[in-house]
């Protein structure tokens, strides 16, 4: 890491927080006017590389120097907008930058196959805007600026999901419902921020948290808390508010699903952690009660119900989308414990889940590009024709279940340990139960791939239709990461603990 960071000149690193967001935005404008798709992809690749390098530089900065603060426009925080990066959003930067880069490498064949020629450069431009929006939400320190970046990433995500309509017309209704629920979520968030502004007079999150503790009995602050949690819960697909996610992930283009599944809900979960620990404060009565009842209980119900729904799906991507809702339930459970161990376990699971779902959705995209697969029964006998992709898919599936030798094991392990420390035996039972349900739907898919006989009408084409190189490489990088980080978990665990410690130490206290 340090070696990569030393590549950049010092002057660039001091302005890294601004450049990491501005480069994708300006490259999006450049990509929009590119004549054809390949040039658009080139521009996108360059800007995601730049952002990835800068992300590494910022993470190294945070690990050595603690909090990185950058005043936009040179105005001091309460007057101007401040970018604030501590241990908590350093993890997010790592996930978004790395997954964004891998998804873009994966994108060329997948987009060439699914998006019409004349619209590819605009499509890449919309992706860059979404990528920059997610990074912006992760590192901004200003509440209203977070709303603006939330809207930037959301509007481009609605469009990206809607672009799936060239393959399946249901993408349009999925994008429309996602737009309505996403906008209601963002508007609830704005109402919450408006109430916080009404109570504290400032919009800077650090400044806000220093003024909130002595307003703990004000009902405006309690209403603000409720609205912000509902708004961000809608964005993070928390259990009862997740109705938009399955269709959106199932009918979007494959490239979009593999990027969104590993980053979008993670960023919304980060904003929940940031507001819960750094803007509001856990000791407040109304926050205390929300930990157990809103996050832990709903997290557990979400884990069980969403996993059960996943078992009965016959569309492969809808199945994985429901499992994503279940995995968000794991993170909510970790958050609901309210302890440093719980938050660290949920941040660890955030990173692990990004790796698992990235590999799984990329593998499904590779199956789709060759055989246009939709239903699980279409996956029959794919191990013979696409062995590499099937192995990557299997590693991802096993990691989803939490089988030892894969990184999923550690996140389940630490969640269980944190739950036991908290004396929540019922949480451990729920963890085991949902892992078993996850085993059923993963086994169902793996059985189709490895055991079942291929469909008679495709035996001819089945000889050896390997996925294109540009798709295999990122898929395998993620699959290997799933295994490598099982044996070398120290790096991820240290990042997760630093995130939890930053969450608890941030804000007023």
């Amino acid at each position: 890491m340090e070696f990569l960071a030393s590549l950049l000149p010092a002057s660039l690193v001091t302005h890294a927080p601004a450049i990491i967001v501005v480069t994708p935005l300006m490259m999006a404008a450049v990509a929009a006017i590119m004549p054809n798709g390949r040039l658009g992809w080139g521009v996108t690749l360059i800007s995601t590389m730049v952002s990835a390098l800068l992300a590494i530089a910022i993470i190294v900065d945070v690990q050595t120097g603690g909090v990185v603060s950058y005043a936009m426009g040179g105005w001091a925080p309460p007057a101007g907008i401040e970018f604030r990066i501590d241990g908590l959003n350093a993890v997010l930067l790592l996930v978004i930058a790395s997954l964004g880069l891998l998804s873009v490498i994966y994108a060329l064949p997948s987009v060439a196959d699914e998006i019409e020629k004349s619209r590819q450069s605009l499509f890449y431009s919309a992706f860059l805007v979404c990528f920059a929006g997610l990074i912006g939400v992760a590192i901004t320190g200003d509440a209203f600026n977070m709303f603006v970046f939330l809207e930037i990433s959301s509007i481009s995500t609605y469009v990206l999901v809607g672009m799936g309509a060239e393959r399946d017309r249901r993408a349009l209704t999925a994008a429309y419902n996602y737009l309505i629920l996403g906008t209601i979520g963002a508007t609830f968030f704005v109402i919450g921020v408006g109430f916080l502004y009404m109570a504290t007079g400032t919009l800077n999150m650090a400044d806000m948290s220093s003024r909130l503790p002595d307003l703990s009995d004000s009902r405006v602050v309690q209403a603000a808390f409720a609205f912000i949690i509902v708004g961000l819960g809608l964005k993070a697909a928390m259990f009862p508010l997740h109705l938009w996610l399955p269709n959106a992930y199932a009918y979007a283009p494959n490239f979009v699903t593999s990027f969104l599944a590993s980053t979008a809900t993670k960023v919304a979960f980060y904003t929940l952690v940031r507001f819960l620990f750094d803007v509001f404060w856990p000791e407040a009565p109304f926050v205390e009660v929300s930990f157990l009842w809103v996050f832990a209980i709903l997290g557990i119900i979400g884990m069980i119900v969403a996993s059960v729904q996943a078992v009965f799906q016959d569309d492969a991507r809808r199945l994985l989308a429901f499992s994503s809702v279940g995995q968000v339930g794991y993170m909510m459970l970790g958050l609901g414990m309210g302890t440093a161990a719980g938050v660290s376990a949920s941040m660890l699971h955030l990173v692990n889940h990004a790796m698992m779902k990235g590999a799984l959705f990329m593998a499904l995209g590779a199956f789709a590009i060759r055989f246009g697969v939709r239903r699980i029964s279409d996956l029959n006998g794919f191990s013979r024709s696409m062995p590499f992709t099937s192995v990557a898919f299997t590693i991802g599936g096993l990691s989803l279940v939490g089988v030892p030798m894969t990184v999923g094991f550690w996140s389940k392990w630490y969640l269980g340990v944190a739950a036991l420390e908290n004396g929540w035996w019922w949480a451990v039972v729920a963890l085991i139960l949902s892992s078993l349900i996850a085993l059923t739907y993963v086994a169902r898919m793996l059985a189709a791939i490895w055991v079942a006989e291929p469909h008679h009408d495709r035996t001819g084409a089945i000889a050896h239709a390997r996925a294109p190189w540009l798709m295999l490489a990122p898929m395998w990088i993620l699959a290997i990461a799933n295994i490598w980080f099982f044996f070398q978990p120290e790096f991820l665990i240290s990042m997760a603990n630093a995130a939890a410690e930053a969450a608890f130490s941030g804000g007023a206290r």
Binding site: G73, I81, G133, N145, G201, Q222, A224
Partner: protein, 187 residues
């Protein structure tokens, strides 16, 4: 609210009209009338913004809200349907439940909200007012709102420009610009 100033009457009238137009929009089934009333609603809200001393916002709301949104909704309605189905009873009651829960949460918080127009409420005594005292010395332009919009919180406006750009991208991607027929069909 010490001495009675007549502009309050104007505010009451505008608010009453807003409520009436808002409820009419919700109850109407004819989309053409609903879109027209939406334009009226934006103009009345622009008028109320002026009396709330928010002149920049009134200008934008009149231009963007009443102008472009109404043209957009009319064009979209021309391309889709002009009559909405009646609201089903089940959805009506579900909506009422959701609305009453959210409304209760909001009314619960009204008690602690600052009094309307109170100069030393937390919002009006901190960052907001500092802009007025610091703008002459640091940016030296009369319109403080433009100073805050472009310089103090310039990054917000950059994000906003990107939001509008993303919306333009979205419409170009979803509907295409269907350029002039003679230059070869871009679609």
């Amino acid at each position: 609210m010490t001495e009675f100033d007549w502009t309050q009457l104007l505010d009451y009238a505008l608010m009453a009209m807003l409520l009436a137009v808002g409820i009419a929009i919700v109850r109407l089934r004819n989309l053409f009338a609903a879109v027209m009333l939406m334009g009226v609603y934006s103009l009345i809200s622009a008028a109320w913004f002026v009396s709330l001393d928010a002149v920049d916002v009134a200008f934008t709301e009149a231009a963007v809200g009443a102008g472009i949104s109404t043209v957009l909704m009319l064009a979209a309605m021309l391309l889709t349907a002009r009559e909405a189905e009646p609201v089903k009873a089940i959805r009506h009651w579900a909506a009422l439940i959701v609305v009453s829960v959210a409304g209760a949460a909001l009314f619960y918080a009204v008690g602690d909200m600052p009094v309307y127009g109170d100069p030393n409420s937390p919002a009006n005594s901190y960052v907001g007012m500092d802009y007025i005292t610091s703008t002459p010395n640091e940016i030296a332009i009369p319109n403080v709102v433009t100073a805050v919009l472009a310089s103090y919180r310039g990054f917000d406006t950059f994000g906003e420009t990107v939001v509008i750009f993303a919306a333009g991208l979205g419409v170009m991607l979803l509907l295409g610009l269907n350029p002039g027929k003679k230059k070869g069909d871009e679609e």
